[in-house]
């Protein structure tokens, strides 16, 4: 017994002596970051676009010398798949925590973000939310959670205010509204906000219709639309359903005065515009959008398109979120989770491609974050509001 113990302690000492120089030689050359998105399942397209954005950002950060305050440490991505389900997302957080990541960037959908931020909070693991527009995400007092983009309350308010402006400028031709939304947190929350607030702006909400993900037949919903005959149709759903809804409307010859979306899944998507130019034409969206006057955004767009991919909002949202994290790592000078959270709280990061100004997190929400209003014009997506970023004059209503 005694001998064995002696042997153990001796060999441990020898082992550590041998190992020590190795450890010393391998000073933190990498910072592990979890990149967590729904890359399979119903949200696969959006999740893969997010992942692409994260990977491009990491490529750029590493090429520019990595995290300099950590001796040029390279960011190493740990890719995770939330399978389009909150519980799968939370399980990935557990795995990433085990693997020793310093932070997580993700996880696109609101419902998934709710689960992943909470799972990460248990380990005080910083979590940068790239899209996840439901406001509950940053309203639960989680110290580890930071959202760079705008939430749906802010987006909906801006959208409604601008709708009123557009409508007044055109002589108030639109009075009635129908909302079509997906059934999870993002769609249901947005629809609830809209139907509560729109009457205050002078619009009558005639109908609110919910649908599942995925839905492969919008005929019934469009038939309802025909009977309700709203002036404005507001969809709040993800890409596949958004595209199918608008295509079914075209099929059934339903043409409202405007298709006006708040965070519409396909409304400001180059993919949609390219695949269905006729259906997309004229659609107005209030959504995440890059600063159209920033040359770097255009360069990034070209890079993404050179890869045969579309420069969708997922790409630039996650791209920028990764840069926000890199900036925080630089200032934290450490891979310690608490230090990173502290650095994020103090972030003033302004060197980005979004129309947000300097970053300022208040209770995890970036105060400067704002959506832009875009419209599909001649097979391209152009900013119409606010004036500072305007590329073309808005066209409202669609049919006279």
């Amino acid at each position: 017994m005694h001998n064995r113990r002696q042997f153990m302690s001796q060999s441990a000492a020898v082992a550590s002596a041998i190992a020590f120089p190795l450890v010393a030689g391998a000073q933190p050359k990498t910072v592990k970051v979890g990149v967590l998105h729904p890359v399979t399942g119903a949200l696969a397209y959006s999740g893969q676009q997010c992942r692409l954005g994260a990977q491009l950002a990491i490529e750029d950060i590493n090429k520019a010398g990595g995290i300099k305050s950590l001796g040029g440490a390279q960011i190493e991505a740990l890719l995770g798949d939330a399978q389009s389900q909150p519980q799968a997302g939370a399980a990935e957080v557990e795995k990433m925590n085990e693997a020793g990541v310093s932070a997580i960037v993700g996880a696109f959908a609101s419902a998934i973000c709710l689960a992943t931020t909470q799972a990460a909070a248990k380990y005080n693991l910083p979590h940068l939310v790239d899209v996840g527009v439901a406001d509950q995400i940053v309203e639960r007092g989680l110290k580890n959670t930071f959202r760079f983009g705008p939430g749906y309350r802010k987006s909906t308010e801006i959208a409604m205010a601008n709708l009123l402006v557009l409508n007044k400028a055109a002589g108030s031709p639109a009075k009635t509204v129908m909302i079509v939304h997906e059934e999870s947190l993002f769609g249901a929350g947005t629809a609830q906000l809209l139907s509560r607030e729109l009457p205050g702006y002078g619009f009558e909400v005639r109908e609110v219709v919910k649908h599942a993900n995925p839905t492969r037949d919008f005929n019934n919903i469009v038939l309802r639309m025909k009977s309700v005959n709203p002036d404005i149709v507001i969809p709040a759903n993800y890409y596949n359903e958004y595209a199918l809804l608008v295509r079914t409307m075209q099929q059934q010859k339903v043409t409202p005065k405007a298709i006006f979306s708040v965070l519409g899944g396909a409304a400001s998507s180059y993919k949609f515009v390219k695949e269905f130019p006729d259906a997309a034409n004229g659609i107005i969206d209030c959504n995440h959008w890059f600063n159209p006057k920033d040359k770097r955004a255009q360069d990034l767009r070209k890079r993404v398109e050179a890869k045969g991919q579309f420069f969708s909002y997922e790409v630039f949202m996650t791209y920028t979120a990764m840069w926000v994290l890199a900036d925080a790592l630089e200032r934290a000078k450490s891979t310690d989770r608490a230090a990173i959270i502290d650095a994020l709280e103090k972030s003033t990061y302004a060197n980005h491609i979004m129309p947000y100004g300097p970053t300022k997190f208040v209770n995890g929400q970036n105060e400067g974050a704002q959506p832009l209003m875009t419209q599909v014009v001649k097979n391209d997506i152009k900013v119409i509001i606010p004036r500072d970023y305007r590329e073309v004059e808005p066209l409202f209503p669609m049919k006279a």
């Binding site: 839905t215 019934n220 099929q251």
Partner: protein, 290 residues
Amino acid sequence: MFDFGILFPSVLNGLTTGAVYALIALGLTLIYGVLHIINFAHGASLMLALYGVYFLKERLGIDPYLALPIAMAGMFALGYGLQRIVINRAGHGKDENILLATLGISIVMENLALIFFKSDTRNIDTAYSLSTVAIGPAMIAVPKLVSFAGALVVSALLFWIMSRTDLGRAIRAVAKEKEGAKLMGIDVEHVYAMSFGIGLACLGAAACFLLPAYYVNPQVGGGFVLVAFTIVVLGGMGSFVGALVGGFLVGVVESLGGLYLGESLGQIGIFVIFIGVVLFRPEGMFGARA
């Protein structure tokens, strides 16, 4: 809301969906009628058929409608093989064993699909996916119209096989009186496997008609099979006419339910019918009284 211009398209839409439901239910009711078991692998088999049609289109560029003979032959072979090699052997002639065997097969199929195809929802895009035909005030999508006509043709073919061919007579004989059929020199095992094969071939056809207007993922079968069970019970277990009429009825009820109650609640009508049938007419609309 009860405007003809809204109601009529919705009913038509329901009829077209119902035709595919009927096709799926026909396969299920055939297998039940002959083997006296509920095929729990029906949904998973439909899912495999959909993947088959999907890959024929994506990899080989074969249009789903042209893939019809391939899909039906492939599914027939799968069904025949499954019954002969797996279900028959695992069943040892006991119904409860056969039931469990089909349940096991469905679990294996769905998880293999998850491994190989991932949980992505996929769909194909064809030139005619979004074209429509005007029927009165209704705009009906071309794939739906084709699936309606196709389902009717395949059902007619099935009726013909069952009523006019030796195989059909043998199947009906085995269904009615197994021992008697055996004594008359009918190869019961072969008839069982043929029935299972034909049952799955119906799914092959359904898959070809569905995919242009639908999608496929490893869980896709579940929703259909639940509806198909309802139709089989509604129409009468083992009744072909019942499956056909039940399919159309359920399709229309679902469509109108979706229109008036919303997409999520729309299916409630189907299950209300189901409970009603089980309570008041357990033998179904066209079933023989036990």
